[in-house]
């Protein structure tokens, strides 16, 4: 019985969603897509297929690494602003303000061209084990994106830490928990739950800033599209496909993150 009711319910919702004008709009969109598929040139696709997959993989890899590292930095930054003395809070605040007040492209170029041009002047850096990494472009891209994520997320975590009800922390202290334990068991999980919806949005924003690393010669999907355009002199096709790929990734990301969000108990504090 319950199953039947559910089926009827979804059917009703589908018919509500599929109103006549929607069907017409969907048909128009399908027509546009089909005409794009038939009238534009897609013969370059097989040639660049593998490269594109590599590019997508690299973009996702950069996204995952920078989000994870950025979050690790963001927690102490947020904690310092929410609870630290002025000597810790002030540098954290300055860090957030600087990161949020300047364009990411500028930070990226500052690190890559600015810092990158300083390193070769010192022989001891050239001799050290780090040199093979410092010569490549991707460490700078990862560093810049990590710092930017940490800056934006540090501000979010500050609000989340400050938003945890005082009673929770007082109760934890009354139980005789050490400060580290309070942070690990009470404060951080609750702050994380509070920050999660914002974190989802920030992750999507981070995905949208990954193409910037293509400007410092990291080959991600955006750079692949640029290469196709240079090789084939086509303007629209690679860019349209690129936009479609990013939309698909965004959709999957939002869906996955909302699944995680749904698993978390809503009633906190």
């Amino acid at each position: 019985m319950a199953g039947e009711a559910a089926i009827i319910n979804t059917a009703a919702r589908a018919s509500l969603w599929l109103q006549p004008h929607r069907i017409v709009l969907i048909l128009i969109a399908l027509g546009l897509v089909l005409s794009a598929a038939f009238f534009m040139r897609w013969d370059w696709l097989p040639q660049y297929w593998e490269m594109g997959l590599m590019g997508i993989w690299r973009a996702l890899w950069i996204l995952a690494v920078t989000c994870a590292l950025g979050f690790l930095i963001a927690v102490p930054v947020g904690l310092a602003q929410a609870a630290g003395s002025i000597w810790v809070a002030a540098p954290a605040k300055v860090f957030c303000t600087i990161i949020r007040g300047t364009p990411l492209l500028l930070q990226l170029w500052l690190l890559y061209y600015g810092l990158g041009s300083l390193f070769p002047q010192y022989p001891w850096i050239r001799d050290s084990w780090m040199w093979p990494y410092l010569r490549q472009a991707w460490p700078y891209g990862v560093l810049a994106l990590t710092l930017s994520f940490a800056g934006y997320e540090g501000e979010v975590m500050r609000g989340a830490f400050a938003g945890v009800p005082k009673g929770q922390l007082e109760a934890a202290r009354a139980f005789g928990m050490s400060r580290w334990k309070i942070l690990r068991r009470i404060w951080l999980p609750q702050a994380f739950y509070r920050a999660l919806p914002t974190l989802t949005g920030e992750t999507v924003l981070q995905l949208k800033s990954t193409p910037l690393v293509a400007t410092i010669s990291v080959i991600d999907i955006f750079a692949v599209a640029g290469k196709v355009r240079q090789d084939t002199y086509l303007t629209y096709e690679p860019l349209l496909l690129l936009a479609l790929i990013y939309m698909a990734i965004t959709g999957i990301l939002v869906l996955a993150l909302s699944r995680i969000e749904a698993r978390i108990p809503v009633k906190v504090g």
């Binding site: 109103q19 709009l25 990411l104 500028l106 930070q107 170029w109 061209y113 800033s209 400007t215």
Partner: protein
Amino acid sequence: MLGLLHSLEIAVGATIVGLLIGICGAYGKLYGGPVVRDLLAVYTTVVRAVPELVLILLLYYAGTDLINQVLTAIGYQRVDISGLVAGIAVLGFCQGAYSTEVMRGAILAIPQGQIEAARAFGMSPGLLLRRITLPAMLPFAIPGLANLWLIATKDTALLAVVGFFELTLATRQAAGVTKAYLIFYLAAGVLYLAVTLFSNFLLGRAEKWARRGMPSVKEAR
């Protein structure tokens, strides 16, 4: 310095275009017919899902090309669209999607009675928009719009990628000529930061002014 001026010009222009699109879009989303509503939903979703850089490339090249093709098709001469206008149009188009959502939320936050009262007075829709809706939504919209303005100033840097001469590209060229990379990039960062902090100050004042007569945020909690 010319680069900074160009950056600011584009940011201001894009914000104004974005605001206009935002007001129209929010009205369409709230009061428009089903087709308009669906089309606007597609517009805001697509623009917010695709990276700004890709959108800028797509619209910057495709948009100018398309306009020229249309013009030649109907028998006019090709026009040379300046980078400034194209940049403003492209960024404004991106901003419009975001500000549509901000405005929609702000209009929904207006107490319904105020709009009903205005209708009861027999105000025309235009007058209603000008006298009631826009002023009443301002306090709700300003924080979101302030964020958008800051994003707009930072998005102008992306136009450097398509070769428009603004602060970031100017910095890159100056740095390339003088080989003093670090100093020039740091200087440009300071300039951007100064713009941000200054507008933060102004926007804080504006919000206070728009909120006059309303209970402060702390008391309302």
